[in-house]
């Protein structure tokens, strides 16, 4: 299972390979707790470990399980750690419920009242939280919520030719009578095509010194990007306040999205499995991008105003009118209201969607630039049920 603990800026290691991902460079391999398997089940959601936990502060705790908050984005084990005058309640953060379930775990895997020994890292803010790098039930000496429980559910992949409408146009969604969604992106952060820089699944650079290579940023944008990277993406508005993943960011999320085409009404819905299960519309009726129908004409919005047309087998989406209240990239690359995106979706076969985005933002970048990756079709399933604010009161 790919878990957040296997990636840290402080380790030199071989890049972790996902199905479909190309090996970028080779590096010295250092003995480390790698839990990758071929045919890995699913990716963790949300954000890099280092945003919340300080990997230079390892911590070991033993305590009694008091409650398990089985909620997105991460499951927390509340445990009672002995102390004076009274025990203290700590929260152990492990993977999210979707990943845990896929790996054979459930809420019942760890009975309330059990004693556990936890190894992980302390929270940056000094609160009583620890990341669950290793969680072991002392009664059985077996791990729980880390790794897989039995045989993990195999990840579904799809093969075969691109499905098409009777007109011959490629289907962006499932064939009739079926379902599925687009997930498992092969990139987690924007990176200009042709540039070789290492970053983790959440867009965190292995080496902050590489920042200037990632995209042709203007000096103010590069300073801001560096600062965001240097502080481990802690101020990410999606992480702090569940602001939407507008722009390319929605296509960097493992829980992906669905396209629902409505040729009768000349529009395509994007139904998200990430963030807050938002919906948005891409219009194919040739309209101008002039703002929303109800109030706020031309008001810049989180997902922009999107219109699209087909060029051969490629669905070309043009979006503008973005506000600046969110990050349009997992790794925190900046953007301005001048952002204009051209996204080219090409379903090269049943299971693969090639996504190429051209970023044209004269407010933040010195020229237009492109980034490309693939999305993978997950047949027979709906978008996983993920709500960013699931665990907030």
């Amino acid at each position: 299972m790919f878990d957040r603990h296997t990636r840290s800026r402080h380790d030199l290691r071989q890049p972790i390979l996902e199905a479909g991902e190309e090996l970028m460079t080779k590096r010295a391999v250092v003995a480390v707790m790698l839990t990758v398997a071929v045919g890995v089940v699913s990716l963790g959601a949300q954000h890099t470990l280092a945003a919340k936990f300080d990997v230079t502060k390892p911590l070991t705790l033993t305590g009694t399980v008091t409650q398990i908050d089985w909620a997105n984005p991460y499951v927390h084990i509340l445990m009672k750690v002995p102390g004076q005058p009274l025990p203290a309640l700590w929260a152990v953060e492990v993977e999210g419920p979707i990943v845990l379930t896929d790996n054979g775990w459930s809420q019942a895997s760890l009975p309330i009242g059990e004693t556990i020994r936890v190894e992980g890292y302390a929270a940056r803010d000094g609160s009583r939280q620890i990341s669950g790098r290793s969680v072991v039930m002392t009664s059985t000496n077996k791990p729980v919520y880390v790794g897989t429980n039995g045989t993990p559910k195999a990840r579904r992949v799809a093969t075969g030719p691109t499905p098409r409408w009777p007109s011959g146009q490629p289907r962006l969604g499932p064939p009739p009578g079926e379902t599925g969604y687009w997930g498992y992106p092969t990139r987690g952060g924007l990176l200009e095509d042709g540039v070789n820089v290492q970053m983790d699944r959440y867009g965190l650079l292995n080496n902050v010194a590489d920042a200037s290579k990632v995209a042709p940023m203007q000096p103010w944008a590069l300073s801001l990007y560096r600062e965001r990277q240097r502080t481990f993406l802690q101020r990410d508005p999606m992480y702090l306040w569940c602001k939407p993943p507008g722009g390319p960011r929605q296509f960097q999320q493992p829980y992906g999205f669905q396209f629902v085409e409505q040729p009768d009404f000349k529009r395509v819905f994007v139904l998200m499995g990430s963030a807050n299960r938002n919906r948005r519309i891409i219009y194919t009726d040739g309209r101008k991008q002039v703002g929303q129908v109800n109030g706020n004409d031309d008001n810049p919005v989180f997902y922009g105003q999107a219109v699209a047309r087909w060029e051969g087998d490629t669905f070309v989406v043009d979006t503008r009118s973005f506000n600046e209240e969110f990050w349009f990239d997992n790794g925190g690359l900046p953007h301005t209201e001048q952002l204009h995106l051209i996204e080219r979706f090409t379903r090269t076969d049943m299971g693969t969607m090639r996504y190429e985005v051209t970023i044209d933002d004269p407010g933040a970048y010195t020229r237009a630039w492109k980034s490309t990756w693939n999305l993978n079709w997950v047949p027979g399933e709906e978008t996983p049920y993920f709500l960013c604010m699931d665990n907030r009161p």
């Binding site: 009694t64 399980v65 008091t66 409650q67 398990i68 908050d69 089985w70 909620a71 509340l78 009672k80 005058p85 009274l86 025990p87 309640l89 809420q107 019942a108 009975p111 309330i112 009242g113 059990e114 004693t115 665990n391 009161p393």
Partner: protein, 140 residues
């Protein structure tokens, strides 16, 4: 010894059956409560797990090898006064939620603070024969 391990087994079975769903807006007592009770100057931590099945409240304290099942648990509602017709409902007087549960020969009685809120708390006194003291637990 025998009865102790038996009660542990029963308690574990009950604990396994009590799904700790984050029941936020459901029955006010359902969930896991954490706090302490006082004996003289000394405080001892207390964990109470309660479940509502539509008919009665069941539960246990201190899940683990020393857990004890609740022998009874009752929620008593003292009616408030809804706002008169045509008046702002915010002028109404809310009902009071009183709770009493018995476990291991102790009786706990208290009142719910913020009974439908996220940080609801049960505050009151406990008694066992001649002993008594204060307790407070908050819903996790």
């Amino acid at each position: 010894m025998k009865s102790r391990s038996l009660s542990f087994v029963i308690a574990v079975v009950i604990a396994a059956g009590i799904a700790t769903i984050a029941a936020q807006e459901g029955h006010p007592l359902e969930g896991t409560w954490y706090g302490d009770y006082s004996t003289g100057n000394q405080k001892t931590d207390l964990t109470v797990v309660m479940k509502w099945d539509g008919k009665s409240v069941s539960g246990l304290i201190n899940p683990g090898p020393n857990s004890k099942p609740l022998t009874s648990a009752v929620l008593d509602i003292i009616p408030g006064k809804p706002a008169p017709q045509g008046q702002q409902s915010t002028t109404g007087v809310p009902p009071t939620f009183k709770v009493r549960f018995d476990v291991d020969g102790m009786t706990f009685e208290g009142t719910l603070r913020n009974p439908v809120g996220g940080n609801r708390q049960l505050v009151g006194t406990w008694k066992r024969a001649a002993q008594s003291g204060a307790f407070q637990i908050r819903r996790l």
